[in-house]
Symmetry: D2
Subunit: 404 residues, 4 copies
């Protein structure tokens, strides 16, 4: 058997138990793979599959070890999301978003809050979703009869229908940031069944409305008073999610490559003018695999490098400077540019090494392209290219926003 084109682990990087975790991840992935095509067709929330992730310990993989979590870092978290994306883009996204959402309490809350919520999260093995989309008006928290009540609507919010706990990026009536966390089943929260896209079809990224939703005082995140601009470290949330995207795209593209290879080996007939008895011996087919692999290896290597650099920034904690934060963000942006371009190319070109019959829907090979094509529009890659260029040419690091 050929080695997978990206190494499972690099001995220099792997914590003692990452190899063991990857083994678990791959077992789960193999199971998910067997139903992925059918679930892509049907859409709808993958509750059973999320439960499978929970049972395998993957929802709590990044939770604090002290509370029984896996204690993995972000670099490894996105690596796991990559492996899951390799068989199922929707579940890769759902798992990766959960990893980030669960950490919002660390980035936005006080240390005490972080400890409390992350401990609870591990203990109850919660799935977290976020209600955050910055392109919609804010959800507003007002004081009503001495209680805090949240109302508003977000067009897109991934995973709310399957979530146990939510983080919400709201503002006070006065326009001050007022993030909070509530159980997903709190009265007044409705996650609508209106997600529909050509790709990432099981991510349940539909709209959600908050109608007079109670927010308890201890659910409000942060010190509760204006504190000036956030420290660079807590703004790493954007490169974190962007790095997740990079790994989702790389993962989906690797999965498309895996599938194509298996199909060419087993099923593709040699072309009528090829002087070979198996398609896999046709030099024109082999050359196409070579180019696809080289591109994937480059995208993977850059994703891993950006991951190492971002993890180093995360590990600096509050000592992280704005410049260091910016350079890590630019590294992630560059990786996203390459991953986007390579993933779009690979998920389309694999058809050329499989042949016409591979377009039968029973194989679901097009879901890879649809998944990448859909999610890479989350924010325009043209603007990521600008970010990288502005850094190189003008020595400018991007400002913190929910896209940069």
């Amino acid at each position: 058997m050929a080695q997978p084109i990206v190494e499972a682990h690099d001995p220099k990087h792997v914590h003692t138990d990452e190899a063991a975790w990857l083994k678990v991840v791959r077992e789960v992935a193999a199971e998910l793979a067997s139903t992925a095509v059918e679930r892509d067709r049907a859409g709808g929330p993958p509750r059973k599959e999320v439960q499978r992730l929970r049972d395998a310990g993957l929802l709590t993989l990044l939770g604090p070890k002290t509370a029984g979590g896996g204690g993995a870092d972000w670099r490894f978290g996105v690596r796991v999301a990559r492996e899951i994306s390799r068989v199922d883009g929707s579940l890769g996204q759902l798992l990766g978003y959960h990893y980030l959402n669960e950490q919002f309490v660390t980035l936005m809350g006080t240390p005490e809050q972080a400890q409390r919520w992350r401990t609870d999260s591990v203990r109850h093995r919660w799935y977290w979703a976020a209600v955050i989309n910055p392109r919609d008006p804010d959800i507003v928290v007002s004081e009503v009869d001495g209680e805090l009540r949240a109302s508003g609507r977000k067009t897109f919010a991934t995973g709310v229908r399957i979530a146990d706990q939510l983080v919400v990026n709201a503002t006070s009536a006065q326009g001050r940031p007022l993030p909070f966390t509530v159980p997903a089943d709190r009265a007044g929260i409705v996650a609508h069944d209106d997600w529909n896209a050509i790709g990432q079809r099981q991510t349940e990224s539909g709209s959600v409305t908050f109608s007079n939703v109670l927010v308890r005082p201890d659910e409000v995140l942060g010190p509760g008073e204006p504190l000036g601009p956030p420290p660079p470290w807590s703004t790493l949330v954007t490169p974190m999610i962007q790095l997740l995207f990079v790994n989702m795209y790389v993962g989906i593209a690797l999965g498309a490559f895996d599938d194509a290879r298996a199909y060419t080996r087993s099923t593709t007939r040699p072309w009528v003018f090829a002087k070979v008895d198996e398609a896999r011996k046709d030099p024109l087919v082999i050359a196409q695999y070579g180019q696809l692999s080289a591109d994937l290896r480059a995208a993977t290597a850059l994703a891993d490098r950006a991951g190492d650099e971002l993890q180093a920034a995360l590990d600096k904690g509050l000592a992280l400077t704005a410049r260091e934060r910016g350079e890590a963000a630019v590294g992630v942006a560059a990786a996203k540019v390459v991953a986007t371009q390579v993933a779009l190319s690979v998920t389309s070109k694999v058809f050329e090494v499989m042949g016409a019959r591979a377009t039968h829907p029973k194989y679901g090979f097009d879901r890879r392209f649809r998944d990448v094509r859909t999610h890479t529009l989350h924010d325009p890659v043209a603007y990521k290219i600008l970010e990288v260029g502005d850094f190189e040419l003008n020595d400018v690091v991007p400002e913190f926003t929910l896209y940069t």
Copy 2:
């Protein structure tokens, strides 16, 4: 309103009535456009739409004028198929295949047969399908009790379920070519409802079986005796169908561009970091349109040039030399390489100038990519590239086959 990026006609080329025909074609196209997304989703044979083509006179557009047909040449026929593909790839293919299939009787039959069948075709406004796929075993015609009987199976045969008349590329029991034409409802012919692909979903390209099908003596095409190799002119059938493919791809890509432009103008929101109030004023968006248009214009110009050259070859009739036939075929092959690459690129990249919400299935924007991705696998573009290279480097024109 901006001009369409491909001119409707070039004054030097247009026969008196091509402009009038294009007007008709566009009216029909506008109607087909309104239901194309829904029909793509549902699949199934577009009987009503083929009837609409019939009523508009488009099925008989290439029929002899003497019999009441439009008398259009192949160059214009593929031009019409391009316009229909611009709104509906399946119908563009069904119309274009019909144009070719109807002409098989000219290329394979005696002059008398050609005249008879093409006259009947115009008179009855038949839709023609072909049972030909060269990658399956041949359908075999045997003499049984003094009658000719055809039996066999072809995996793919476009349009049989909606056809009135068929041409079949069979062989005798002795392996001699024995093409014939029969009504599609002749007893023993079953067109199976088994077409399923991610694109070109209404082309009804499923399998067909012939079980002891009667072939009347006057339905057998050709002189009925071995005649040595076919004249170059009658082997133009392959560059003809390949030129149709070129125009289908160009048409589908132009349609994707049309749709994207309308959407960007009407619906796309400017990106949060763009310092403009409309997406259409964002230089990064404008630049993407510029590159897509330049590529489409190149593919279109080359398609038209290849069409002019192929038509000139067709117009030479039996005086055409093998070398001339070969050069026209190479020109078509080069056009197919460019059309394939541009169409795959355009139908994917249009999403980047529309934005994330354009992935909602209600728009059906992905059907353009799925259509191109599916049909461009008909035969590998890598081998078309080889054909062109072999001509340029080694001065070799391709041998006649059903792919070259």
Copy 3:
């Protein structure tokens, strides 16, 4: 022998004597080819070669037939420049610029002036240069002692050192446009020997200074009084020169392809792992030729289409509308985008089908890349892409400038 990859002529387009002219052009081209590498190395003005063009009647090819010129149109003029560029980029540029410069008197002068100067031009077989570069301050014409005197400097002006007659795009002291034409040897004009670039090395595009240069009243072009904005027809000068650029790039790239093909056939050794006895039988080599040829054919077809459209605009004369002018200009811009991208790619990639020994300077194969790389920077292709995009997306035709 294989056909050249671009047809010499298309029967539908060729005036009676274009085929005869092309024969002449190719004879001259063959002679120029034999010294091109050496002259590229040496640089300096190609006086002998321009004389050869003159003797062959090519300087007067576009001159009025009534005066003894060839009477060719612009479409054919750039076609000739393409053929010359195919062997020598510098001479292609010098010839093409001459064709345009000679016509400035038509576009900027009164009909009487146009007739006078163009007749003189044919009679004396002048080589024309222009002093125009819009990125420098204007040359200023002042009245001194009842005479007009011109002074100023232009950084780049192609061909002045070899010119007989100049057109100058000056302004009056009051800033009013005041174009004029003078003999190149008029006192006070100094063309400096300071052209030096990595490509187009014999174009003599150095600086020129005007020091108190006498301009006779009858040398001033135009009606001599402000007339409001120029008619669209006279602003075709920009698409005319841009179309020339398109044909230069296409010509140089075709020349690179010609040379590579001859070298691969005669000299390239098969790679050690190729299972063939000649490099030209290696499928990986053939495939590269196929892709290069397909790209070149597309660029050529689009160049020709843009030429047809521009000629149609030119043929409308003063009846041409601003919109029609704009659409022809956009067509040329799109052709320039494609020609630029293809020519840069082809002139670099040809080395891969020739092999390492082809880098010996004695072959001069790199001059093709240097020529294209140099001249394609005349104005940024990124802005041509914008022009095309702005037309497609926003239905805006470019304003007349000396770049659009």
Copy 4:
């Protein structure tokens, strides 16, 4: 100042003194940069510059620490060659080839020979060249009057004219491999002054002839008797040199990027239609830098990953399996594909962000393209693509040759 786009060092990888060495390398590089354009123009052996490398301790950087060398590994050696290539492709090649040639004694000799020659090499600070080109007939060693005498000719042999010591890949009269090492000034060795290429102009890669050259018994490398196939570890010589190529290309491309950035910042004028007062503020310029940087980062990350993997293989020594050797070689091949494609693209496109005046030869910006274009033809990248594809699709690792 912006960070260089490739990090100087990754804390996890750097041996104690790599950072210190890189400081030295950059000082030397800065000096070499100041004369690189002029030396490229003049060609000829860079004796003074090689002496500068020697004085800085860089010739002995990979020499055994026990003998006073730097003790650096191959991974770091190619990293140093990358930095030198960043200012001067020829010197990067000369230094990198020396690093490999000096190690041939380790790979081909007995342990005693390795120790002896490498110790001598450090002590005398030799520059090593190799006489090896596998596409020429072998140099043959015969016994004459009881002495070994070598005769023959190699078309290309880098650096012989500046070398102190040579390794020669000869055969016995019986065709048995008979590698040896001799001083470069041994009687009968003539390095011809016939290197001439459009790039890598100071590499002195000309021909060399051996006429009856004495080879002393202790200069013959290896055990002196046939031993069966070489162990996988000693065949790492090919991925080692190929990894050097990767780093040369990446280095040259990074240098082109460095130069372009400095030029755009200091010299490029904003385009006439750009609504900015400095070229560096033009979004179309910034976007081009962003894409170039993203591509370079990917090529660099993959080069580094391939380096880590190859070093791991080297570190296994004789325990290395053929499969492990093959996988490391495939990793290097993939990195070479990407580095080749990116370096060709970057060294051409940088002109578009600098503008027309950057084509003046005084800047020498085109030498980057010429250097990459020349050396990337060493062996066809199309065959490297095949190697990668054959591994991925067919699970085949390349056989050991001097190209794979």
